[in-house]
């Protein structure tokens, strides 16, 4: 589904990624862990097409297409979804309105009829039921006045509605208390299917108690320095990141 080869990227002249290689297949969950400043969020943002980052070398192929050549909206319509670390507040626009606009943008691009308000509310209702949530913040402006936990939950709700093939969760666990963390993880697990894949970017092992990864990668100084199974996350939790960096050096 996704092949990243020797990816180098910089922002304002500072090189942040220094040769990342990663392959993600359908049905897999990959965790990318690493210390602060290792480039985890940069990688997530680049996959979503953030214009601030400049790719200086390497390639990213998504379902046979050159992902880096696609606009952010084309990526979204092709099934790439980024759950933001810092979701943005959209004044005035309710969650329901926003989600319908997003769903219809993709439907239109795929040659499908746009959903009217009533059809959309049916779809929304079904999605909410599937992850066991209520519609309590559907009529509130997107992320405005939301607590940190509500914002993260809202990202997962968007993910549920947009049904991505490749979901990238950028530090979705940061700022969540344990109950919120469980709620979010359960929803992510319910959305797992053999034909989609998830990349979980996280600093702590905590989230991985609830979302079981098939692979764990350690990103340090802009490169993946170690990969392993889910047990690697536990080892990182116990020993920290320094030994991995030392081993790689």
């Amino acid at each position: 589904m996704l092949q990243i080869n020797n990816l180098h990227a910089s922002v304002e002249g500072n090189e942040i990624l220094r040769g990342v290689d990663l392959t993600v297949n359908a049905g897999e969950v990959h965790a990318i862990m690493g210390p602060n400043g290792s480039g985890k969020s940069t990688l997530a943002q680049i996959l979503a097409g953030h214009p601030a980052y400049e790719v200086t070398e390497g390639s990213v192929t998504y379902e046979g297409r050159d992902l880096l050549d696609m606009d952010p909206e084309e990526r979204a319509r092709a099934g790439v979804f980024l759950a933001f670390q810092y979701p943005v507040e959209i004044r005035g626009i309710t969650n329901a309105y926003f989600l319908r606009a997003a769903v219809n943008a993709t439907r239109k691009a795929r040659g499908l009829d746009e959903l009217d308000t009533i059809d959309f509310l049916d779809v929304l209702d079904e999605k909410l039921k599937s992850i066991g949530w209520d519609d309590s913040f559907m009529n509130r402006p997107v992320n405005e006045g939301f607590s940190g936990g509500e914002k993260k939950r809202n990202e997962i709700l968007q993910m549920a509605v947009l049904e991505p093939k490749l979901a990238i969760l950028d530090e979705t666990d940061s700022g969540l208390d344990i109950d919120a963390l469980k709620t979010v993880a359960e929803a992510v697990n319910k959305l797992r299917r053999p034909d989609n894949a998830t990349i979980v970017v996280t600093h702590y092992q905590r989230l991985l108690n609830y979302i079981t990864p098939d692979f764990v990668h350690v990103l340090a100084s802009g490169k993946i320095v170690k990969s392993g199974g889910k047990e690697l996350a536990l080892e990182l939790e116990a020993r920290g990141y320094d030994w991995v960096k030392d081993e790689a050096a």
Binding site: E73, A76, V88, I90, R91, G92, A102, Q158
Partner: protein
């Protein structure tokens, strides 16, 4: 003075205004003696101050030179087709409307037949002729404290408008719609006057619309007084859709008694130049005022909102949300003054002004002004101005919206945020369509230019 010029043709010059004022007093339109007194007082103040200039702090960002030097005449009486008013009205069956055309109340176009008991909606000129004691008790009593020269000019020269009286404990189930339209070709000036008196315990919603029916230059100098009795609840929506070649100067002044609620949503879409002063005085403990506004400007439109909330009594709340969306070379001004008088303890006041600049040439000026003379108060204010947040654009694009759609949605959100405060569903939907169409047109023009 140029010989042979009619008294109203060179209105800019104070001597002509003086002549026009004397002419008004000599005619039937002068009204009862008490009104003549109030007119004279207002006139004396205007004669003293003249038109404001940009050297005065309150007028720093808004030059009214074009008005002061312009030539405006009193408009001829005109009749308009009902169909031309429909875009400015909501509802159909049993609606309550008061229509003023070229400054004159039009009883044929107004629908006041099915008013509930205790409710008066009528021509102000007629109420004056009939010697209505409520009008005498209130008209001009609130604006006379204003330092706005245009409010004085209105008091001196107003001849008609609408009087709304909602009786004690009366609750209306539908909005009272006041529509002031201007039609015709010659640059005209009108001084429409509105008086709304809500007796204790009453509840009503008033929609006040100013519209130009023709794409011509004229000047509307409006003044509205709203008196909200104890425990009364008055929600107003003021929509300014004057011709984009017109000028509007206006004041809305409210006075509230104990535990009353007053809300205004002021929407500005029209006029080449507009200035609207809103002054809300919280005169009784436990009163609440909400002042919201939205200006959507294009081309070289200029709109200035000056608001003052005066907390004269303790335990009052006020909220204020003003948004501006400025395209092309337009210029929006917001000045929000909050005065907390000595003894107005437990005041809770919040003010927010957000301005979206759609082009590099658009401009916004925002000034909060807090004057707090009590010590147990909570006053917060915040303002933003600038172009669209690129993080928000990326966020929407990452959800599948293309850049143009993302920008449209974010712009629309700035408007919808304020429209959400419009309580009448039909009006909110109508305004939603109007601003949506306006913003889409702007986006298309920018897209074509890019």
């Amino acid at each position: 003075m140029t010989g042979g010029t009619s008294v109203l043709e060179k209105t800019a010059r104070p001597d002509h205004w003086a002549t026009a004022f004397e002419a008004l007093l000599a005619g039937d339109a002068a009204g009862p003696e008490w009104l003549v007194q109030r007119r004279r007082a207002a006139w004396a103040e205007f004669a003293e101050s003249g038109f404001p200039t940009t050297h005065q702090e309150a007028w720093r960002f808004t030059s009214v030179e074009t008005i002061a030097k312009g030539t405006f005449v009193a408009p001829a009486a005109a009749s308009v087709e009902q169909a031309r008013l429909d875009p400015f009205l909501v509802g159909a069956e049993g609606r309550i409307t008061a229509v003023v055309v070229n400054g004159r109340f039009d009883s044929a176009l107004s629908q006041t037949a099915n008013l509930p008991d205790g409710v008066v909606v009528r021509s102000l000129a007629e109420a004056l002729r009939a010697g209505d004691p409520v009008v005498e008790g209130h008209l001009g009593r609130y604006t006379e404290t204003s330092e706005n020269p245009f409010a004085r000019l209105n008091t001196a020269f107003m001849t008609d408008g609408v009087f709304v009286h909602v009786g004690r404990n009366v609750s209306l189930d539908r909005p009272i719609q006041l529509v002031y339209v201007t039609t015709g070709g010659t640059p005209t000036v009108t001084h429409p006057r509105t008086l709304v008196v809500a007796e204790p315990g009453s509840t009503a919603e008033v929609i006040e619309t100013y519209a130009g029916l023709d794409d011509v230059a004229y000047w509307t100098n409006a003044a509205t007084e709203v008196v909200v009795g104890e425990d009364a609840n008055i929600a107003t929506c003021r929509i300014q859709r004057e011709s984009e070649r017109a000028f509007q100067t206006a004041i809305t002044q409210s006075s509230q008694e104990r535990a009353s609620i007053y809300a205004i949503v002021a929407v500005v879409l029209g006029a080449a130049l507009s200035r609207h002063d809103i002054k809300a005085v919280l005169n009784g403990p436990g009163a609440e005022a909400t002042l919201n506004g939205l200006s959507i400007l294009r081309d070289r439109q200029h709109a200035d909102h000056h608001t003052t909330i005066e907390h004269a009594q303790p335990h009052c709340n006020s909220w204020e949300y003003f948004n501006g969306i400025y395209d092309d070379r337009s210029h929006g001004v917001f000045n929000g003054r909050i005065v907390v008088r000595p003894g107005a303890q437990r005041t809770d006041s919040k003010q927010t002004n957000n301005n979206l600049l759609l082009t590099e040439d658009a401009r916004a000026d925002s000034q909060p002004q807090l004057e707090i003379y009590a010590d147990d108060v909570k006053c917060t204010h915040g303002a933003t101005l600038g172009p669209m947040d690129p993080r928000a654009v990326f966020y929407l694009r990452s959800r599948g919206l293309d850049e143009a759609a993302a920008r449209s949605l974010l712009t629309y959100g700035f408007g919808v945020e304020i429209l959400a405060y419009v309580t009448d569903d039909a009006l909110r939907e109508q305004l939603d369509e109007v601003i949506h169409a306006r913003l889409e047109e702007g986006a298309r023009r920018r897209g074509a230019a890019a």
